[in-house]
């Protein structure tokens, strides 16, 4: 699988946040996005997820036979973990992840395994309102473990995570890359050492 971006430009409001963005990421590779606040990292990830339209340029997600994926096939090939946590105080941790599993079309039986991967098993029965910031982040990241999907789009995955959780995230990501996945992540901190980076400058 390959993700190819040629001359991408994006508009937010009436401002061009970036232009001339080119990259190509293939199976087993990661691209880490850096850049100051407001440089368009989230915008770029939302474009890659298919949630925002590009102003200019071309974006293609190609499968192993170099055929472009579109529509539902494309949506089903990616995990998008936004910087928002989508956690409600009225729902318990397991209920929240079950709901997310259903939206992804993932089997409910994998929910407990995913909670275990992210060290949330002991919290499964408590209300989402009692989670710390790092626990909330882990619950969002647990979506990655619900269903194998090739392309992972991670927006600020490291925020609020402690050392142990960061190590866990690194392990999960490295395993995903080893299995032939693709990761595009936006962050302000060192992440996935040795992988390619893309720096977005402000007001480009």
């Amino acid at each position: 699988m390959r993700l190819v971006a040629e001359g991408l430009a994006a508009l937010r409001g009436e401002r061009v946040v970036f232009r001339h963005v080119n990259f190509e990421v293939s199976s087993g590779q990661a691209l880490v996005l850096y850049g100051p606040n407001g440089s368009g990292k989230t915008t770029l990830l939302r474009i890659l997820a298919g949630l925002l339209a590009v102003m200019a340029g071309r974006l293609r997600l190609l499968d192993n036979d170099s055929q472009p994926l579109t529509g539902e096939a494309r949506d089903g090939a990616l995990h998008f973990i936004s910087h928002q946590d989508m956690i409600r105080t009225q729902l318990r941790v397991r209920e929240t992840l079950r709901f997310h599993a259903a939206l992804l079309g993932a089997p409910a039986r994998d929910v407990d395994a995913a909670l275990d991967v992210w060290g949330l098993s002991a919290l499964a029965g408590i209300s989402g309102g009692f989670l710390s910031a790092g626990q909330r982040r882990r619950l969002s990241l647990a979506r990655l473990s619900l269903q194998p999907r090739r392309l992972w789009l991670l927006d600020e995955p490291l925020v609020a995570l402690d050392a142990q959780a960061r190590a866990r995230l690194n392990n999960v990501c490295n395993k995903h890359l080893a299995d032939g996945g693709i990761i595009v992540a936006a962050t302000h901190e060192p992440f996935l050492a040795g992988m390619r980076t893309l720096h977005l400058s402000s007001g480009a």
């Binding site: 949630l51 949506d75 409600r88 709901f99 997310h100 992804l104």
Partner: protein, 221 residues
């Protein structure tokens, strides 16, 4: 289908567990009906004349309550992104939400109304018509509400806008609902008004999800 069921269940649980959810809708409806005789005086003839309209005004206002929560929070906390990436069409997502809203507002009101009927001296013969009219009309109210709630998401704190959008569209329900109950009370045949009410409700149930899904797609940027 499993996605639809999970979404419906999640919204139902949210509506029941939220402080402004099902319990508030029911309490609000009951309060209007309980307070009306205190404000209007105990004259049975006055209450009898005003009763059908009061019940339906209370129903319109009580079903308004859960609407702001229906899609606003999903837009704010990013759940809408998951909806859009999910294989389930946005229209069906809205239908699940309407169903959950109706069960925790319209249906509860429908079940509560016969118990409250004596407070407004509603004649015994009109009680089945009252229940039937609410049963036919409230799904339409939830459907119109969903469309307005989706439109309101582009406005910060859209609660007021929501009420202004929804209430004029709900006027046909008020007119046909109240006149059906009034007809039954005066010994006339309420079926004509009930048929119009059912028609309005059916139209709303078809158009509401389509309009709401379109509004959420416009909100995409």
């Amino acid at each position: 289908m499993r996605t639809f069921a999970a979404l419906f269940w999640r919204d139902l649980v949210l509506n029941i567990r939220s402080s402004g959810g099902a319990a508030l809708s029911a309490a609000f409806f009951a309060l209007i009906v309980v307070l009306a005789p205190l404000g209007l005086g105990p004259n049975a003839a006055t209450l009898k004349a005003l009763g059908p309209g009061l019940f339906w005004i209370a129903a319109l206002l009580a079903t308004l309550l859960g609407l702001e929560r229906m899609v606003q929070q999903d837009v704010e906390d990013g759940t809408l992104d998951l909806f859009r990436l999910s294989p389930l069409p946005m229209e069906l997502i809205i239908v699940a939400k309407i169903l959950a809203h109706w069960l925790t507002s319209g249906l509860i009101i429908t079940l509560l109304a016969p118990l409250l009927a004596p407070l407004l001296s509603l004649s015994f013969d009109a009680v089945p018509t009252l229940t039937l009219s609410l049963l036919l009309g409230t799904p339409g109210l939830s459907s119109i509400g969903a469309a307005a709630a989706a439109l309101g998401t582009s406005v910060q704190r859209g609660g007021m806008v929501l009420a202004i959008l929804v209430l004029p569209l709900n006027v046909p329900f008020l007119i046909f609902g109240a006149s059906a109950v009034a007809a039954a009370q005066s010994g006339n045949d309420p079926s004509q008004a009930l048929i119009f009410l059912a028609a309005a409700s059916l139209i709303a149930m078809v158009v509401g999800p389509l309009a709401a899904a379109a509004a959420l797609r416009l909100n995409e940027d």
